[in-house]
């Protein structure tokens, strides 16, 4: 039997989910293998390098650049505190005095008599890395990360905006403050504005309008690589742009998560090393761990059309021709023949379906 390969998004009410919580070299690991953790528990504490700032010290003192070293009252490598005088100069027999003070706590990284500049590095900033999943620590690798595993529900979206959020999932219309809100249809501009104003931390929607998203963000977003934006909440879109309803299977799995705590991530990367946004919550539905379907599409596989007039329609592959066929654009492509849920049979380019 011919088997072809098409990309697919994971939608499962119960499966093993593993997530590596990346940590840099030198991070303090707070958990051990076998520890049971909650999504909000910290698993590592990291000291991120503080920002560096270049101070135009010679210019501030009104002295030649080449005289900066003589004016310095600290030297390279010294620790300084905010407000501390680091360089001093005087003119007119001491009548005019000027100083340069450290703008923040840090370390003198360099002093240059050529540029007349001082480089100051701030003290490292501590941050904590959360477990993200309610699960068990499976591995700990210094400089790499902490791997957490959970039996959970997992829904991958097609596109997201913003970083991670962990909160209770509620339906649209419920009190959204501090919650993640779900709507199965298109999230309009008004809905998104209202959620932002009322303090929702996340929104899961079937679709959004491209223009609405630009309006909300106040700028065009780089859709190919997201995760760091701040539009007021984290957004996960399951279907795409336009007026598209959430696929029934996706809506069904998410329905089982309403009322409970979920973790979401808006990070999306559509280039090499693809990353899709996701919603992870407690496992529900049938007991045991659901097997993922074998990769690939064969005759009989249920697929979803993801482009063109039949976008969003579900069907079953009835034939996989070996040779390219003519398609509606006038070109030729490898195709699937798909019988839709209304028994109508259509020919679809292979890249335009997902499982």
């Amino acid at each position: 039997m011919i088997r072809a390969f098409s990309p697919c998004l994971t939608v499962s009410s119960r499966m093993l989910v593993r997530r590596l919580r990346p940590v840099p070299e030198g991070a303090e690991i707070l958990v051990s293998v076998g520890d049971v953790v909650e999504a909000t528990d910290p698993v590592a504490r990291v000291e991120l390098p503080g920002p560096s700032q270049i101070l135009s010290a010679a210019s501030s003192l009104g002295i030649p650049r080449k005289s900066l070293s003589e004016a310095m009252v600290v030297v390279e490598g010294d620790q300084v505190v905010a407000g501390q005088v680091i360089a001093r100069a005087s003119a007119l027999f001491g009548l005019l005095k000027s100083t340069v003070q450290a703008p923040f706590d840090g370390r003198i990284q360099s002093v240059s008599d050529v540029s007349g500049q001082v480089m100051l590095s701030a003290a490292p900033r501590p941050i904590e890395v959360s477990a993200y999943l309610d699960g068990e620590v499976r591995s700990v690798k210094g400089g790499v990360g902490v791997e957490v595993e959970a039996e959970a529900s997992l829904v991958q979206g097609i596109f997201g905006v913003g970083s991670e959020a962990i909160a209770r999932l509620v339906r649209i219309g419920d009190d959204p403050e501090g919650k993640i809100v779900i709507t199965e249809g298109r999230a309009t501009s008004e809905v998104m504005e209202r959620l932002r104003e009322t303090g929702a931390v996340g929104l899961i929607a079937g679709s959004v309008g491209g223009a609405d998203l630009v309006s909300l963000a106040g700028r065009e977003l780089n859709l190919a690589d997201t995760g760091d934006e701040d539009i007021g909440f984290t957004l996960v879109v399951t279907e795409g742009f336009g007026d598209l309803s959430m696929a029934a299977r996706t809506a069904g799995v998410l329905d089982g998560l309403v009322g409970g705590r979920v973790s979401i991530s808006g990070a999306t990367q559509v280039r090499a090393g693809v990353v899709r946004p996701e919603i992870v919550g407690r496992a529900h539905g049938s007991s045991g761990v659901e097997d993922r379907e074998e990769d690939g599409i064969a005759e009989g596989t249920t697929v979803r059309i993801i482009r063109g007039e039949a976008f969003g329609r579900i069907g079953r592959v009835t034939r996989i021709p070996e040779e390219p066929a003519s398609i509606g654009s006038g070109g030729r492509s490898l195709v699937y023949v798909v019988r839709l849920d209304d028994d109508h049979e259509i020919t679809v380019p292979r890249p335009n379906v997902e499982k």
Binding site: P51, S52, I158, G209, F241, G328, P349
Partner: protein
């Protein structure tokens, strides 16, 4: 020379997503490309070994050509004997993102620009250019550089014996940002210093503790002299000796090849220079991909290359819309489309980049995106390729310009003899006329210009081959690589729509085969078969110029192609009707004239 007497040659180009292999054989004394194979590139997880993709592509090539290339030991069989083995194996690579660089200079339009040209000419993708006079604060520059993971940095600035302060400031900024190299844990970032040699020691003191510093000749030894050769050669050396050694599997690939692996764009540049030189014409070549668009030009012996990093038709589709604006994109559609729906269509293509259009409407939206990506990329290329005071690169003769603002571009559209298009949206368009129309619409060539395509983007392969066997490379280039689509005749000038633009006669074998009179706004295609040549005489009306001067007769040979001889009398710049309805009607008429769409009823509606 290695490979000069080889008669069976295999070349691979390890691209970001696909590794493409071609087989070149000497047949009856003539080198031809006889077969090709491909396989996914395997530089990323889970495989992380580029040679696995190379082997798979060579096995595909074996299956299609019948030649046994890989031996039982998993290595390339050499030399060729009968239907087994090869005499020469070469490769180019842009896998794993190619060569990614950051460049810095003191003045954006002088040393930073020269550094950027050196990096681009060496085949790099330039992730950012920083200069003391760019609009960002020092802190924002540092923050930006912190987030970059380049393969190497090129630092320039100051003439020899000239300015020092700015150069040291740039070195301090680099030190403060401390960007980490893309590959190799514990590997120190290579930094090439090609600035004022008098501050080389100070630069070493500042960045040497964190990076591996390499000092080469100043690329702007004086204000009016550019010398990018030494910096470019150092970039090549470091790419091979450092970066590629860190990339998964490349050390092994380097051992396999009979000549150094070239960065893909560098190989393209090499081949284009050879082509422009042998035909004595100015050449423009574009490779449009899903994420980026590369443009190469060789004009008056000067090579320029630009990479428009966010202009492409899938991953970068939304960015194209952002840069072009909805109206500019929509004007290329021969039907009306709600702007909100057009935006959603484009954004859906970005987040599902591997889907393909399955309707003519969807196809035309993607081709409109391609036109805008190409148009903006060309604008960027022309702005970059400025040749002003005639300063030449004394070390290589490859580039030349001097600083200033408002300079005229070296790439004048009327001077181009040949435009070559490559990349999926051009190569795989259902009709050759669609490819020709996209290139002509987007680039708006002026005068008489051949329009061609490199259907499988073989220029990189031939570029690396040119370094060891120039005759073989030129033979394959002429016979199998550059495929003529049409010759475009486009008078420059503007006027009142419908006013007289030109008269022409076309002769073959001494007989007039076609003649006509065209008005401003007309597009006409006259059939002229591939490989045929005819003599064209054009009499442009007053105010219009096809290469001999305004209103002056031009006569000369023209070549045919599947799209024949295209008369594009839409004016330069193209004269667009004011109203949206009229624009749609005009675009429908033009596409029909090109043969790019069918129009089946009087209203022009499909």
């Amino acid at each position: 020379m290695i490979g000069a007497d080889a008669s069976v040659i295999v070349i691979t180009d390890c691209g970001s997503t696909t590794t493409k292999a071609i087989l070149i054989e000497e047949v009856d004394g003539v080198f031809r490309q006889t077969s090709r194979g491909e396989a996914p590139t395997t530089v990323e997880t889970p495989v992380e070994d580029v040679t696995r993709g190379v082997i798979a592509a060579l096995r595909d090539l074996s299956a299609l050509s019948g030649r046994r290339i890989i031996g039982d030991n998993g290595e390339i069989i050499r030399p060729a004997s009968g239907n087994t083995g090869v005499d020469l194996y070469l490769s180019t690579s842009s896998a794993g993102g190619g060569l990614q660089m950051m460049v810095a200079g003191v003045v954006g339009s002088i040393s930073a620009r020269s550094a950027e040209r050196a990096a681009l000419g060496a085949g790099a993708i330039v992730a950012d250019v920083v200069a003391c006079d760019d609009e960002r604060s020092a802190q924002r520059r540092i923050d930006r550089l912190k987030g970059l993971r380049p393969d190497m940095v090129l630092l320039a600035g100051g003439t020899d014996g000239g300015a020092q302060v700015g150069v040291v400031e740039m070195a301090e900024m680099l030190s403060a940002a401390d960007p980490k190299p893309r590959f190799g844990k514990g590997f120190r970032l290579p930094v090439i210093f090609a600035g004022n040699r008098e501050v080389a020691d100070e630069v070493q003191r500042i960045v040497g503790g964190k990076s591996d510093l390499f000092v080469v000749d100043n690329l702007r030894p004086t204000v009016d002299e550019e010398r990018i050769g030494p910096a470019r050669e150092k970039i090549h050396d470091l790419f091979l000796d450092h970066v590629m050694q860190q990339a998964p599997g490349f050390a092994r690939l380097v051992e396999w090849t009979d000549s150094p692996v070239m960065p893909t764009p560098s190989a393209v540049g090499s081949m284009l220079r050879s082509l422009a030189d042998s035909e004595d014409i100015a050449v423009l070549c574009v490779d449009i991909g899903g994420a980026t668009t590369d443009i190469f030009s060789v004009v008056e012996g000067v090579f320029n290359r630009t990479v428009s990093a966010n202009l492409g038709v899938s991953y970068s589709a939304a960015f194209v819309l952002k840069e072009s604006g909805e109206e500019n994109l929509e004007r290329w559609l021969p039907f009306e489309m709600d702007p909100g729906r057009l935006r959603d269509e484009v954004m859906n293509k970005t987040i599902r980049p591997t889907t393909i259009p399955d309707s003519e409407e969807g196809l035309l939206v993607e081709q409109a995106l391609a036109r805008e990506a190409l148009r903006i990329s060309l604008e960027q290329h022309r702005a970059f390729a400025t040749g002003l005071k005639g300063t030449m690169d004394k070390s290589s003769g490859i580039s030349g310009f001097s600083a200033g603002s408002g300079q005229e571009s070296l790439v004048r559209m009327a001077s181009l003899g040949l435009i070559i298009g490559s990349g999926g949206v051009l190569s795989h368009a259902p009709r050759p006329a669609q490819t020709a129309a996209m290139l002509i619409d987007a680039f708006a060539p002026e005068g008489i210009t051949r329009i061609a395509k490199d259907s499988i983007f073989m220029l990189p392969h031939l570029g690396v081959l040119a370094g060891v066997n120039g005759d073989a490379a030129r033979s394959v280039l002429a016979r199998d690589c550059v495929v003529d689509l049409c010759t475009c005749v486009a008078p420059s000038g503007t006027g009142k729509p419908g006013s007289e633009c030109l008269e022409f006669t076309l002769e073959m074998d001494g007989s007039v085969v076609e003649s006509g009179r065209l008005a401003l706004g007309d597009v006409l295609v006259v059939p002229l078969a591939q490989g045929r040549e005819a003599t064209l005489t054009v009499d442009p009306k007053r105010g219009f110029d096809v290469g001999a001067g305004k209103g002056r007769r031009w006569s000369g040979p023209v070549r045919g192609g599947p799209c024949g001889l295209v008369f594009d009398c839409r004016g330069r710049p193209i004269a667009w009707p004011e109203s949206r309805t009229e624009r749609v009607a005009a675009m429908r008429r033009w596409l029909k004239a090109f043969g790019a769409i069918d129009v089946t009823d009087a209203e022009g509606t499909k």
